[in-house]
Amino acid sequence: MAGDVLIHAENVTKVYNPGMPDEVTALHGVSVSIAVGEVAVLKGPSGSGKTSLLSLIGCMSRPTSGKVLVYGKDVAKLPERFLTNIRRKTFGFVFQQYNLVRDVSVLENVLLPLYPLDIRISEMREKARGVMRKLRIDGKEHLKVKQLSGGEQQRVAIARALINDPEVIIADEPTAHLDTELSGEFLEILSALNREGKTVVIATHDPFVHEQPMVDRIIAMRDGRIDRAVVR
């Protein structure tokens, strides 16, 4: 499967608040492909359109025009239920602010994506404990998220992203709040996941990330357009 195109965005444009005084065009006819099993990095300054492209790739939003193909299927026009299903099965997200529910336990945060699925609670817990063990947070399952350090919170966010066993890990500015040591630890986790066969897409402006040897493809963006794309 490695080398097959997993995601292909074709001539996508994204306009926010169309027709309003604060209309913004975040992406101008962008085309990009990401292959199965590769580590791709979207880099560029603030406002370059990285996050907009990342959210289109991850089926979090729809393009204003153009196509987003996942395994060759155009997902841009799918009804919400189907889009959610693809997002749930295919993508695991790690957000810049981690976006954990602060007042609930680590275990509950990790379990959250599984609540709407037809899986027994005992099975859910078993899966969560497996993922948490892998990320070395298994001793903290009953702690509230707000009691954890930044690095631990990020590992909880990764555990939550992995609970559905997605094919693609999407991370938005994952090292923005981490020091070099924790950033290194995080990238080591991603590298291990990639070695297991997961595709990884990261949006970042941190050179520490895009200079990593595990990165296969660098897509540089500026002003909502692709400046250049490098495949290593």
Binding site: S52, S55, M60, E80, F95, N99, V101, P116, N164
Partner: protein, 385 residues
């Protein structure tokens, strides 16, 4: 089902996370339901009491009118009424009201020569002679006059008259007998100083229920200075009186309901940034809009059902076990003897259903609708913090 079970589990944990806010809403909500349910329970129960009371009364009561007001009726009218075809027993009644300055309460004094009564006696027997009486539980309590005790009342000449209490009444509720003092007919005539050959009104039994109106018309034709009152008219009057009182109360408390709805709407529409973010997170990690709405529906339903049940239980205890202390004076009017008033517990499922619908559904809607607005937006917004 399994999915709903898990979402309910998460909804409970969400509510517990916001426990202080939820408790405040729960308290306001339960109080509103308790007030509304108290009014409904009380008026419902009073109407049933009134129906029970009137159920055993005569088919027709004939009063005499003089200058548009109730006057004593000649006993001889009973003979004329007896002559009307279809009429059964015709009995002149002797009764009146008595204001007891000692306790500030009004009693109903009733004369009877019957040895047995439709009203059940708790202790003792019906009065058999002029110096004897049977009293309601309320009178017995305020005058400390149990069976074998003495009740002194002031007669129409201003003289104190002593009656020996030979019985204390029990009824399904004390509403029927609470303020009642029963004397013998001649005892009552002498006490009030009623003129010879006059009664307070005349009680008429009619063999065929369908002919009551016809008999009433004939009475009016034969005795133009009388007013025949049918049992149906009395029932309607009671219903109207209680409906009017409960309507007045409901109008007053409508303000409370509106205030509560505003609170609920404000709470729900002012969906906090934290809640909005949580909805965004849930959508981003694979919940669809319907899942989020199911979660919000269960949150609203759990809170409102709990408040509804607490409110209804509180109202039930308030009305039927604590004697509706907060509402009794408004609903029941002046003639109530205050010390003892127990209503028979009665629940009308239809009324409860209406109350549940009117209180639960607006709250659930005001929880789900604003969440729906947040849930239909792209989860991308959560990525932007």
């Amino acid at each position: 089902m399994r999915k709903h079970g898990k979402i309910i589990e998460y909804a409970l944990s969400s509510l517990l996370r916001r426990k202080f806010r939820c408790l405040a809403i729960l308290a306001a909500y339960a109080l509103t339901v308790a007030i509304l349910a108290s009014i409904l329970f009380m008026t419902g129960s009073l109407k049933i009491e009134a129906r029970n009371l009137l159920g055993s009364s005569a088919d027709l009561i004939v009063q005499r009118l003089l200058a548009g007001r109730h006057d004593l009726i000649p006993e001889a009218y009973a003979e004329t009424i007896r002559g009307i075809p279809g009429v059964g027993t015709v009995t002149p009644r002797y009764w009146g009201y008595y204001y007891d300055a000692l306790t500030g309460a009004n009693y109903t004094l009733l004369g009877t020569d019957r040895k047995e009564s439709t009203l059940e006696l708790l202790h003792g027997r019906m009065p058999g002679g002029r110096g004897e009486c049977a009293v309601g539980a309320g009178v017995s309590a305020v005058r400390f006059a149990g069976e074998g005790g003495e009740l002194i009342l002031t007669d129409s000449r201003g003289m104190g008259v002593s009656f020996q209490v030979v019985g204390v009444f029990r009824a399904e509720s004390s509403m029927l007998t609470n303020d009642l003092v029963v004397l013998t007919d001649d005892g009552l005539i002498a006490f009030f100083g009623l003129p010879e050959g006059r009664a307070t009104d005349i009680m008429v039994e009619v063999h065929n229920e369908d002919e009551v109106q016809t008999v009433a018309r004939k009475v009016k034709r034969l005795l133009p200075d009388t007013r025949p009152i049918t049992k149906r008219e009395l029932l309607r009057t009671y219903d109207m009186a209680f409906n009017w009182r409960s309507g007045m109360m409901l109008t007053i408390f409508a303000a409370a309901v509106i205030a509560f709805c505003i609170l609920a709407w404000d709470k729900a529409t002012g969906i906090s940034a934290e809640e909005k973010q949580e909805i965004g997170i849930l959508k981003a990690i694979g919940w669809d809009t319907a899942d989020v709405l199911v979660l919000k529906f269960w949150e609203g339903l759990i809170l409102s059902m709990t408040a509804f049940l607490l409110g209804v239980i509180a109202a039930f205890v308030h009305v039927f076990f604590l004697g509706a202390t907060l509402l009794a004076h408004i609903i029941m009017g002046w003639s109530v003897l205050f010390p003892e008033f127990r209503l028979v517990p009665h629940l009308d499922p239809y009324q409860l259903l209406i109350l549940a619908f009117l209180t639960i559904s607006p709250y659930v809607a005001s929880t789900v609708v604003p969440s729906w607005k947040a849930a239909v937006t792209d989860p991308e917004s959560v990525m932007r913090g």
